[in-house]
């Protein structure tokens, strides 16, 4: 695997210069690797992992997971409808699932009403959507590998040990 990609997968937040040091490349080589990852559509973009409950202005954001049943289509299966749903700005992630429903859709909105409105006016009115079941998220304990609030204890390693 591309050594730069390996470091990205470790989930740290190294700068380009730090990646260069660790992987034993020059900074421009790392930039080339990153450019190639973008060209190959492996690296799609960068996003911070945030605990927005600590930021008053953003704390009101409402998140929900919606289980959606849709009818598959001859030729395209679930893809056309899934892509259509996924294009809405409200949708953060969208997965095709095995089991009791077809799509699992993660949405966010400024208020409960806005999310409810999106579900009732947009999502469920699309032809081919058979049913929806919306679950509002109450609290986040872990996001993308980061523990919120309940972090690890600060290190108590001795400074010098045999």
């Amino acid at each position: 695997m591309n050594p730069v990609l390996k470091l990205l997968l470790e989930g740290g937040s190294l700068t380009t210069a730090q990646i260069a040091q660790v992987a034993g490349f020059s900074v421009s080589e790392v930039e080339q690797h990153l450019e190639q990852l973008k060209k190959d559509k492996i690296l799609l973009g960068w996003r911070p992992v945030l605990d927005l409950s600590r930021e008053a202005a953003a704390a009101a954001t409402v998140r929900a997971v919606i289980e959606v049943k849709i009818s598959p289509e001859r030729g395209g299966g679930f893809n056309r409808l899934a892509e259509r749903l996924a294009r809405f700005d409200e949708v953060e992630s969208c997965y095709l699932m095995s089991g009791g429903y077809d799509l699992l859709v993660f949405v966010k909105g400024a208020s409960l009403q806005k999310v409810a409105g999106f579900v009732s006016e947009k999502l469920s009115t699309i032809e081919g959507v058979l049913s929806t079941s919306t679950h509002f998220m109450l609290r986040c304990y872990k996001d993308q590998g980061f523990l919120l609030d309940v972090g690890e204890a600060t290190t108590t390693r001795l400074n010098v040990a045999p």
């Binding site: 740290g12 660790v22 390693r157 400074n159 010098v160 040990a161 045999p162």
Partner: protein
């Protein structure tokens, strides 16, 4: 009559030198609150993987709070036996050839106490882990240091062993890969050492605590070589590979008569290792290997980083094939290792341990542990570079 309480301290204990690490620990402790980056530790920076910690919590919840068999839980000994067969290629019966101990430190102490008569000679390669020589002295045996050299990447050679050997040598202690040098021996070197041990009828105590952290090639245990299992006590533990230093859990495997002798000492002194640590260790052996591989990959990358930087800075450093220690020479700086370490700490706030803390053959070197984050290692190397380039005060 003197009132000095020291009059009650046993002579051989009073005669033990103070650990050079201890001196340095106190120096670093004085700098508390300052932004010191420590490369002076001897343990992983990873916390024990959660599934292992969770197994210990589960065991506590089920009321596992009792003594175990002296030898350790049979389930754990079975798992150890399987693990040692798979990873080291030596078969030990869980019933009577495996003993679970409080860290490898206890296993080493048990072995020395069980096998050494006063005055027996014990060979050990040096630079070495700080407790080897004192442990030998504590059983009234006599330590015979065998030097390892930078030119050999600190591998132990049969020639050095032969040169240091003297009549009365009974035991050889090995620690490969080695703390503090990261030196290790390949199969050919080990075969020469094994042949020497057979020739001189030496018992081998092989402490292989860093074996999983071997970055190039495969680790070979001396116990797996022909004719060696019957004269080797294999010592291992969970501290380094599974990031479990604070759990204090190790084990020894060997011929039943030797394990039985160690068990005699263990039952009267320790009784058994902590049951909670044993439960955690069982989880580590059953479902911990992915974590070991993840940590090893990171150590590997960190090693490449620090070794490359040290050599760029002008601190000649071999690439340690195993462990998480780099052992660069500071000779080119014109300083001795103690002045280098204390100067670096005071001027640039990076802690490394003077090589002489690991025996006289460590002079001119420092031990830098790279079990710390990439970010910290990058900053530490930059600081070391500034220190080396600054005019000496």
């Amino acid at each position: 009559m003197s009132n000095d309480p020291k009059r009650w301290v046993a002579g051989h204990v009073a005669a033990l030198p103070k650990s050079g690490i201890r001196d340095f620990f106190e120096l670093v402790a004085k700098m508390k609150g300052q932004d010191v980056i420590s490369l002076g530790v001897g343990e992983p920076d990873f916390v024990t993987p959660w599934n292992i910690r969770e197994a210990a919590i589960f065991a506590l919840e089920r009321g596992k709070t009792y003594y175990t068999s002296n030898l350790g839980m049979i389930e754990l000994r079975r798992a150890i036996s399987t693990y040692v067969t798979e990873h080291f290629g030596v078969d030990y019966r869980p019933e009577d050839q495996v003993i679970v101990t409080v860290g490898v430190s206890e296993a080493l102490d048990l072995a020395l106490r069980a096998f050494c008569n006063p005055g027996d000679k014990v060979m050990f390669h040096q630079p070495c882990y700080v407790s080897y020589h004192p442990s030998i002295s504590l059983v009234h045996a006599q330590g015979v240091a065998v030097p390892t050299f930078a030119k050999d990447n600190f591998a132990l050679t049969a020639e050095a062993l032969r040169a240091a050997w003297q009549p009365g040598c009974k035991v050889l202690m090995l620690n490969l890969p080695c703390n503090p040098t990261g030196g290790t021996c390949d199969r050919i070197q080990l075969e020469a050492i094994a042949a020497f041990c057979r020739e001189k009828d030496l018992l081998v105590l092989s402490d292989e605590i860093y074996s999983e952290l071997t970055f190039e090639g495969t680790h070979t245990s001396i116990a797996s070589l022909p004719g060696m299992a019957e004269r080797t006590v294999f010592l291992h533990g969970f501290s380094k590979a599974f990031a479990m230093t604070g759990w204090r859990l190790g084990y020894a495997c060997g011929p039943a008569a030797l394990i039985d002798a160690m068990m005699k000492v263990h039952q009267y002194t320790m009784l058994c290792a902590s049951i909670i640590a044993q439960e955690a260790a069982l989880e580590a052996l059953t479902r911990g290997w992915d974590s070991v591989l993840m940590m090893r990959e990171q150590y590997h990358r960190r090693r490449d980083l620090v070794v490359r930087r040290f050599n760029e800075i002008g601190l000649k450093c071999h690439s340690p094939r195993g462990s998480f220690y780099a052992f660069p020479s500071v000779a080119a700086t014109g300083r001795n290792e103690k002045d280098f370490a204390s100067g670096l700490l005071l001027e640039q706030k990076v802690a490394v341990v003077p090589g002489s803390a690991f025996g006289e053959n460590g002079v001119g070197h420092v031990r830098a542990c790279f079990a710390t984050s990439y970010e910290q290692l990058i900053v530490a190397c930059d600081r070391i570079e500034r220190f080396v380039q600054a005019p000496q005060k």
